[in-house]
Structures are given as C-alpha cells and as structure tokens.
Subunit: 220 residues, 2 copies
C-alpha cells in the first residue's frame, strides 16, 4: 500500500478511535514524524480527512473536528432521509440477491449481541442496509454520515437494555424489508433513527462536563 493511503488510514483510525481527541490541534510536521512520511502524502491525507469532516481548518492550521451537537442532529435528519429512501428502494426492487443478504443479516441479529463489537456492528447494519438499495450515492451518503457520527457514538453512554432494543429494532426493520413492506420498514427505520438521535444527543449533553474533562471539545 502506498504511503499516502497508509497515513490517511492510520490517522483516520486514530481520530475515530479518539486517540486524538476532538478539538486537538494537528500540525503537518507532527503527522509527518508520527507516521514517518513526508509532507506530500501527509498533505493528501489531511485534505481527504477534511472532506470527510474528521478534521477542519483552524485559521492556518488543522484541528480534529470538535463534537458538535447541532451538527449531530442535522446529520440525523440527513441520514433519515437517505436511509429511508434506500430502504424504500430496496423494498421496491425485490432483488433475489438482496433477500439472501437480508436473511444473513437477520441471523446475525439473532446471534448473541457481540459484547465488544456493538459499535461497529451498529454502524455496519445501516451501511449494509443502504448498500442493498444498489444506489451508490445513497450508500455513500449513509456511510459518510455514519463515519461522522462514529466518534459521538463511542462517547454515548449505553446500557444493556438500550442495546437490546436496538438489535430488536434492526430485526423488525429487516423483517419488514424482507416482506416488501416499504411503508412499514420506512416507519420503523424513522423511529429507530429518531430514537437513536435523541439518546445520543441527550447522553452527550448530560455528560458534557465529563467529556470536557477528558479534553474533548464539545460545542453546542
């Protein structure tokens, strides 16, 4: 793999994994020495990560994007629009291949919820669901939105009950899609995203002091 993609990937991992906290300043020189690359690939990586919304310009320099509660709410509205459109499309398609994938996703929902991987599994559900639509743009929109939400979801305080409820909702949505019930699936998905947004924003708002104590910038 080229150095450029390597720097980009590793830096993204560090940001998404909160190894570099929201609001921290980044210098090109630091990234250079941290990953043993020179400025050209570092520059390319930073430009890419900027378009993903993971970092943003801070005057002349770079900053890891702060957690922005207003932005999280807007993203929820955005992803609801595209996810619902995607799931309606999938219902309308009645694709043979899609049914098989849905069956597999239903099975994995029934499995014990993976204790360590709820974060990735929760994101992948929505991304894969969007992929089923066959529409590249709806898919990318959902994937990018989930990426932007990813760090905030790590910071959300979650109890067992909420996780169990989420898997149950995922199951119901898949069932509706399998049955070709577009309105039902759309409705279930909407409520799921609404609830998810409410819990996320509420949790972060309540814990804002604690997050700041960890050095994480959280803006209203």
């Amino acid at each position: 793999m080229s150095q450029m993609q390597n720097v980009e990937k590793q830096l993204r991992e560090m940001i998404l994994g909160l190894e570099i906290g929201p609001g921290e300043r980044l210098t090109e020189r630091w990234v250079e020495s941290r990953f043993g690359a020179s400025r050209t690939p570092v520059r390319a990586a930073l430009l890419r990560l900027e378009t993903e919304g993971l970092i943003c310009r801070d005057g002349r320099g770079w900053t890891v994007s702060p957690i922005n509660l207003a932005e999280l709410e807007q993203i929820a509205v955005y992803r609801e629009a595209v996810e619902v459109a995607a799931v309606r499309l999938t219902c309308a398609l009645q694709d043979r291949g899609a049914v098989e994938i849905i069956e597999a996703m239903l099975d994995s929902c029934d499995d014990q919820t993976p204790r360590e991987e709820w974060h990735r599994v929760g994101m992948d559900f929505h991304i894969e669901l969007a992929r089923l639509s066959g529409n590249e743009f709806l898919f990318r929109a959902v994937r990018d939105a989930m990426t932007r939400l990813s760090r905030a979801r790590w910071l959300e305080v979650r109890d067992e009950a909420a996780l169990g409820r989420a898997w149950a909702e995922h199951h119901d949505i898949l069932s509706a899609v399998r049955a070709g019930d577009a309105d039902g699936a759309a409705c279930l998905l909407s409520s799921h995203i609404d609830g998810s947004r409410d819990r996320l924003v509420t949790s972060l708002r309540n814990d804002r002091r604690g997050l700041r104590a960890r050095g994480f910038a959280v803006v209203a």
Copy 2:
C-alpha cells in the same frame, strides 16, 4: 486568493464548462503549465475535484469523469430523497426569513426566463430551495448532486416549451412551500425531478452518437 484555490476554481470551471471534455486525460504537468502553478497546489486541486466526482483516477493518471447515464439516474434518485426531505423540513419550520426568500424566488420565476442563464438559474433554484431547510447536510448534498449533473445538463437538448414548463413547476413548488403544504410541495418536487431525469437521460441517450463525435465519453 491563494494559488491553490485558484487552480481548483479555474480547473473546475473548465471541466464544468466542457472546455475539457468528459473522458479526456489530464496530466499534473499539463495542469501545472496551464495555470502557472506548481505541483503541490495542483495536486490539492485534483484531490478536491476527485471528491466532487469531476475527475477520477485512470490507472496512475487522471481523467475527466465521463458522462455516465446509469450514474445520472442514481443521482436523480439521491437528489429526490434529499430535496424532498429539505422541502418538507422547510414547510415544517415556517421560518419568517424563509418566507421572504421564497417571495423573492417567486418573483424571479415570474421574470422573463433569462435567455442565456437558464442553466445556472435552474441549478440555483434547487440549491437555494435546499438551503432554506437550514440543514447544512441536505444543502451540501443537493449542491454536490447538482454539480455532478451540471455537465450533462449542458448537453441536454432543450426546447422552449420544456424550459417554460420547468419554470412553471418551480413556481408551483414555491407556492406550495409558501402555503406550508409539505405533501403538496413534496409531490410536485418529486414529479419535477422525475421528469427532469427522464428528459435528461433520454436526450443524452438519443444524442449519444453526436456526443461521441464531439469527443465526449458517454458510458451507459
């Protein structure tokens, strides 16, 4: 303005204005000499234009993205989802400021359709309509989708009647939004986008031979 933004802007203009045809190869060296910039800003510009979908990698080099009919249809589905969501949001908001902008947009619809500027005006309508929602992500999605559609719309054969119908539809959509009729506006907008997509794809499909003759790559 910095050299970097300058190269990006000028190159984008050339691509969107079809001064560099879809499918043409680009070399970093050519861009360098064409705009009198060095490789660093040229690369930054190319990376940005890649994320906008205006250019794409072609093995080791760069190619101005071909016109892709399947992609145009997918973009139409995507923009319908986000535009409808935006317009519903705007209706629900009942924002005072929005009403004023809507009045202004209605007025400009009633003006004689600007003979030379129908292309830009047609795009701006949808972009400004999305901006009214106040949701940055819906807005960006519409703006980016319209940018991706822009070149194809230049190539579409349009008659007077079709243009007049488009302005009338714009007018009706704005009226519905002003009246706060979310379902009506959503419905009108959906048909408008559907019709627009059909005419666009049909026109390009029929003229595919002529487009190839002009050196423009058009893929199915």
